[in-house]
């Protein structure tokens, strides 16, 4: 049996725009009997906006040090947080010089390299495992799902934990819950445009439109994802994208942990299914 306790790093959107992801992660892990202990007083990972790698390393040295003191490995549901935490972890583990330099800024940044960082998708499929999950499935989630991985799951190679071009982890979960992963070709791992949402909206919208239309044309009932920025683009902005291009999508967008939670028999309200912007009721109707 793998380690049954993780230091939980929720990430900034967990309290606002991606609250349903946070709720569903907590509910799923509770149901699975895997303890999550939120890292006390964690700070922002630097997202995509802090460009200087050394600032990213310093910010995350603090998060890693908090976990190290508690003796837990870190799990995060956000792909960008994962990327920043894990690349910092690798850089710090690999260089005593860097550790010393960052420790020199403040004692709270003293990290000795004793922590592992994982994305929730990795934990679910590779630590807990499909076998254990399958044994706990109570309901069949009979939906056609477009598995959308986005960036930072299969790339960059330094931190990737799935195939860069044809990732499979989410597909395995979808199959385990009784759903069907529709063929979603290269769009599975194509960028949603999120990083340009505020600064070059027209380009961001074109990127997201391609993913949304791709999912719809593939016959999906919904999109599954594993990153709050993708959720922002594909779910919260879906109506704006429809309006910008004069198209109709109307596709529910769920976090993979919400879909898994439904299969585990967890109540929809505990999974935050009323928080997704595009109505998720059509999906609830297919849970049998």
């Amino acid at each position: 049996m793998s380690n049954r306790k993780y230091g939980y790093y929720p990430g900034c959107p967990s309290e606002s725009t991606a609250i349903e992801q946070d709720m569903s992660v907590k509910a799923v892990f509770e149901k699975l009997g895997v303890e999550l202990e939120e890292l006390e007083d964690w700070n922002c990972c630097g997202a995509a906006e802090v460009e200087d790698p050394e600032i990213v390393y310093a910010l995350n040295a603090r998060n890693l040090a908090i976990a190290e003191k508690k003796g837990v490995n870190i799990m995060t549901p956000c792909s960008i947080c994962y990327y920043n935490l894990e690349r910092s972890n690798k850089a710090l583990k690999g260089s005593e010089e860097l550790r010393a330099k960052i420790r020199g800024i403040d004692d709270s940044l003293a990290y000795n390299g004793g922590v592992e960082v994982k994305h929730v998708l990795d934990v679910l499929v590779n630590d807990i495992g499909i076998e254990e999950l399958s044994g706990k499935i109570e309901k069949k989630v009979n939906v056609k799902v477009a598995p959308y991985y986005g960036c930072y799951i299969g790339r960059p190679p330094l931190t990737a934990f799935d195939d860069p071009d044809a990732p499979v982890l989410m597909d395995q979960l979808i199959e385990a819950i009784g759903g069907e992963a529709v063929p979603f070709d290269y769009r599975k791992a194509k960028c949603c445009g999120g990083p340009l949402m505020m600064t070059m909206q027209d380009i961001a919208f074109k990127m997201a439109r391609d993913v949304l239309e791709g999912a719809k044309n593939a016959g999906a009932d919904c999109i599954a994802l594993a990153c709050p920025l993708c959720g922002m683009m594909l779910d919260a902005k879906q109506e704006d994208i429809e309006e910008a291009f004069g198209i109709k999508i109307g596709l529910p967008v769920l976090y993979i942990t919400q879909l898994l939670g439904l299969a585990l028999g967890i109540d929809a309200s505990k999974l935050g299914l009323n928080k997704n912007v595009v109505d998720t009721k059509p999906i609830l109707g297919k849970v049998v």
């Binding site: 910010l59 600064t199 070059m200």
Partner: protein, 200 residues
């Protein structure tokens, strides 16, 4: 046209000194990066390979003022596919940081609002240790529009429907008006101050 007398042979070393820029000279110009870049479907002239070639040649000014630097999605597709491990996504970040420092020194003008967005984002972390969405939006719009008032006008227009949608889902309520703060904010300040001082 390349003006040989304007080429800066030191430029490639300047980039390689920057964190993320180390692998620049490994590039053998195969163009895999550009061919796989999702932006090229939208902007056909977008070409990371060319930015690398120009950097290697020492076309410092052309590279640092190239607006395409600020369009990159940092999606890492190029980095994943490059046969020479050039790590283009990080490399472009290294070039952007040089451009930003040059702009701060008054030596060039960046034609993009992206640096102000990144800065506004960093200020939230520096102040609170977490992302404060409202603070980010207010600062960014103020910078982008040139004044607090104009910024607020544009922001309320842009956010009208979107904000309402989030509000209805309980994602943008009274709570989101206020920042969530980490307790140890002193260290956040220290990190940014230390790194800035070091880069001069």
């Amino acid at each position: 046209m390349i003006k040989t007398w304007e080429l800066d042979p030191e430029f490639k070393y300047e980039i390689m000194k920057e964190s993320g820029g180390e692998h620049l000279t490994a590039c053998f110009q195969c163009s895999t990066c550009t061919l796989g870049c999702p932006l090229t479907e939208i902007i056909p002239t977008y070409n990371p390979r060319k930015i690398i070639q120009m950097s290697l040649l020492g076309m410092r000014n052309e590279v640092l003022t190239n607006p395409d630097l600020w369009v990159c999605l940092i999606c890492q597709t190029c980095t994943a596919r490059c046969p020479q491990d050039v790590r283009i996504a990080d490399l472009l970040g290294a070039i952007r940081r040089i451009a930003e420092r040059e702009e701060e020194a008054g030596k060039l003008k960046i034609e993009s609002v992206r640096p102000s967005f990144d800065k506004a984002f960093m200020h939230q972390i520096q102040k609170y240790g977490r992302l404060y969405d409202m603070g980010l939006a207010m600062e960014y719009y103020r910078e982008k529009e040139g004044s607090f008032f104009k910024g607020m006008m544009t922001m309320s227009k842009d956010y009208k429907k979107f904000g309402m949608r989030l509000f209805k889902k309980g994602k943008m309520g009274v709570k989101s008006m206020f920042p969530v703060k980490v307790k140890d904010r002193e260290v956040m300040k220290k990190i940014f101050e230390h790194m800035e001082a070091e880069k001069g």
